[in-house]
């Protein structure tokens, strides 16, 4: 049952990603990207990480994609101005992508090798303490410095975006 759900969601994710590339209309690309984000959230649920799935829906599908759709609306693009047929030019970059695909399949090899390191998120702790609790413990004990750096980065990005987009 879980295998069937995984395969269906994986196929849907790949199909949505391909449709992002193949759509002539930029808005259609963005909407297929929303579909891709939602399917990824289902895959995170199948991996038993509910918190990341909720974040994926709220942050990616909810905030970032709506932001991109607003930007497309401001630019008033209907059909992307790609010259030539995208489906034909798909074959120009195929060798580089094929190499990269096999390179990233290396991840598969790493994943199949046995892993000795086990952290503190074993199933019993997740069911008694809770997943969000454990992640929060990690953030505020070990990951505090990167966490604060991310907040500085977000502030800098917002200030930079406002500075760039204002009328002068």
């Amino acid at each position: 049952m879980e295998l069937i759900a995984t395969l269906v969601c994986g196929g849907a994710a790949v199909a949505a990603a391909l449709l992002v590339i193949l759509s002539r209309n930029t808005v259609h690309s963005a909407l297929w990207m929303v579909a891709n984000c939602l399917v990824l959230a289902v895959l995170f649920l199948l991996l038993n990480s509910q918190f990341i799935a909720v974040l994926q829906v709220i942050v990616y599908a909810g905030a970032i994609m709506m932001f991109i759709i607003y930007a497309i609306m401001m630019l008033n693009l209907r059909v992307s101005d790609d010259e030539g047929d995208v489906r034909k030019s798909l074959f120009t970059g195929r060798f580089a992508v094929l190499c990269l695909f096999f390179l990233s399949l290396l991840i598969l090899g790493v994943g199949l090798s046995p892993m000795a390191v086990k952290g503190d998120m074993f199933p019993l702790a997740v069911s008694t303490i809770g997943e969000v609790n454990l992640i929060a413990n990690y953030i505020f004990l070990q990951g505090l410095c990167p966490f604060e750096l991310v907040s500085v980065l977000l502030t800098a990005a917002v200030v930079g975006a406002v500075y760039l987009a204002r009328k002068d």
Binding site: E2, L3, T6, L7, G10, V14, A17, V20, I21, T26, S29, M33, L40, F44, L47, N48, S49, I52, L55, Q56, I64, I68, A71, I72, M74, L75, L77, S80, D82, E83, L90, T92, G93, R94, A96, V97, L100, F101, S104, I107, G111, L112, M115, V117, K118, G119, D120, M121, F122, I135, Y138, I139, G143, V150, L153, A157, G160, A161, L164, A165
Partner: protein, 101 residues
């Protein structure tokens, strides 16, 4: 629980390759941006898979950091697109060669 982690990792590799293909092939800056987001999603999937296999919170923390960085990137990138569109009337990335020597 995750007996199928090789499926998830293969899916992550496929999605990453699709994202790279889109960055190489498409000329529309917004679609290129969307393809970068596809790649980030693929990497997130690999991180969550490894975090589950390793039973550690580090991968999940990395995913949260990647989401925040993607948000920052979207804010700055789209502001730059709007600015370029105001200046030149197009966002075809082949038309921008201002920095070309």
């Amino acid at each position: 629980m995750t007996d199928y982690q090789s499926i998830y990792l293969a899916l992550s590799a496929i999605l990453f390759a699709i994202g790279v293909l889109g960055v190489i092939v498409r000329k529309d800056a917004i679609v290129v941006f969307l393809c970068i987001e596809i790649m980030l999603g693929a990497v997130n999937l690999a991180f969550v898979t490894f975090a589950r296999a390793n039973q550690s919170a580090e991968g999940l923390f990395m995913v949260m950091c990647i989401m925040a960085v993607a948000g920052a990137e979207a804010a700055v990138g789209l502001a730059i697109f709007v600015l370029l569109y105001r200046k030149t009337g197009t966002i075809n990335i082949d038309k921008f060669n201002l920095l070309k020597y």
